[in-house]
């Protein structure tokens, strides 16, 4: 199975997850299970399988930028790196949706954060955290029960 084909499959899977998040006000519990758990888990299985199969064939490592670049010379490891983005970005997107729901952040404020997380990962997380801070006056790591006001 070629890396390019797997890239397409993984991208499609992640995209479905993001569409589910956009529709999440209609079916919140199902959206949490699909985009917050099932699809990130499937992507994680693919990631772990790629690392098991190809990690030993790569040179380089995590020690310097040069080593990371060397690691990504292997296309399958480059693919694994991409799937890592897809899985964790979607997971963070689902966390944003859940947290916004629990803290009664309006969905129209969530949508741009999702778009940013989809395209530029950490930028979306930054945007959502900024919105939460602006609304409550503080930054919290997790939603505290009974905190929504």
């Amino acid at each position: 199975m070629s890396a390019d084909f797997l890239f397409q499959v993984a991208n499609t899977g992640a995209l479905i997850g993001w569409l589910v998040l956009l529709g999440s006000p209609l079916f919140p519990a199902g959206a949490d299970r699909i985009a917050g758990l099932a699809i990130p888990l499937l992507l994680s299985v693919a990631y772990a399988g790629l690392i098991l199969a190809f990690w030993s064939s790569g040179e380089g490592g995590f020690g310097s930028l040069g080593e990371v670049a060397q690691l990504f010379q292997i296309r399958e490891l480059l693919l694994a790196g991409w799937i890592h983005y897809l899985a964790f970005d979607l997971f963070v997107g689902a966390w944003i949706v859940r947290t916004a729901r629990a803290e009664a952040v309006p969905f129209y404020l969530v949508v741009p954060c999702l778009a940013l997380t989809f395209l530029f990962g950490p930028a979306g997380f930054l945007a959502f955290t900024s919105i939460r801070a602006a609304r409550t006056g503080r930054v919290a790591a997790a939603h505290l029960k009974g905190d929504a006001s």
Binding site: A46, G49, L50, L52, A53, W55, S56
Partner: protein, 282 residues
């Protein structure tokens, strides 16, 4: 009024949920490790899917998959049999240390076998100096993890309140007790010989369905398989024996156990003579 308030709320109980809690209840450590190993098969299967490399004619990841399945079945079986241990055994300090070391040995085996597959090299019979060191440690680990069967046999035999029919208890204890010696005989000889194939090419060509046993010569893994599964086959016969001859008649179980030993020895001798197991199959 108080009684009504204090009455426990009955949770809806589904088959799978009930099965899980009944399996987990008596030996949570073995149960959870068994489930974890089964889940580990998912990324391993994906690795088999994407990895084009093969070792001795077989996909690199088939061996880790086989071990994940086999050790998962092993742990879940022990978790199931744990209900017949003497009451309180699982809470005893020696038992907790022992069961943790069995799980640690299994974890070591899996890391070793997956690591060798990732590197595209041999785990068992690796001739390099590091390979031999790992192999000798793995031998100790294999002995430790299989030792749970005689320990369970001894504990269950000593328990007068298992509630099992005498014939079934005898089958359970005998099956568990035979697993280690039969495995030592077959796997030990395989280890001494330095290979699992006898007289054939040693390369998986046409192989036995599912199991992957060699077809063009003897394969010592066949006897190893039946030796290790004494803990399943003999108790399973115990169930049949209770149904056919009643709960108190133990002779059929004893005869079956003797026949089973003879069968393992025969399969082993056939492999040593370089003959394939059931040559018409595969």
């Amino acid at each position: 009024m108080t009684a009504i308030v204090a009455a426990p709320v009955r949770q809806p109980s589904f088959g799978a949920v009930r099965l899980r809690s009944s399996l987990r209840q008596h030996e949570p450590r073995f149960f959870e490790a068994g489930i974890l190993l089964a889940l580990l098969a998912a990324p391993t299967l994906f690795a088999a899917f994407v990895d084009g490399r093969s070792f001795q004619g077989e996909d690199n990841w088939i061996k880790p998959l086989k071990f994940e399945v086999a050790l998962s079945v092993y742990l879940l079986t022990l978790a199931f049999y744990a209900r017949w241990l003497p009451r309180g055994t699982a809470q005893r300090r020696w038992y907790r240390i022992y069961s943790a070391s069995v799980v640690a040995a299994i974890a070591f085996e899996m890391v070793w076998i997956c690591g060798a597959a990732a590197l595209g090299t041999a785990s068992h019979f690796n001739p390099s100096p590091e390979g031999e060191i790992f192999y000798s440690f793995a031998g100790i680990g294999a002995l430790l993890l299989t030792s749970a069967t005689p320990v369970y046999a001894w504990l269950i035999a000593r328990n007068p309140t298992t509630g099992l029919a005498p014939a079934l208890k005898e089958a359970l204890v005998t099956g568990l007790a035979l697993t280690l010696p039969l495995t030592l005989l077959t796997a030990g000889m395989m280890s001494q010989m330095g290979a699992h194939g006898v007289g054939g090419s040693g390369v998986a060509g046409g192989t036995f369905p599912v199991m992957g046993w060699l077809r063009d010569g003897g394969d010592l893994r066949v006897a190893h398989f039946f030796a290790t599964h004494a803990m399943h086959f003999i108790p399973a016969f115990g169930l049949a024996s209770v149904a056919l001859w009643g709960p108190a008649v133990r002779l059929p179980v004893r005869l079956f156990a003797l026949g089973y030993i003879a069968f393992v020895v025969w399969v082993f001798a056939e492999a040593l003579a370089g003959r394939a197991f059931l040559p018409g199959v595969g």
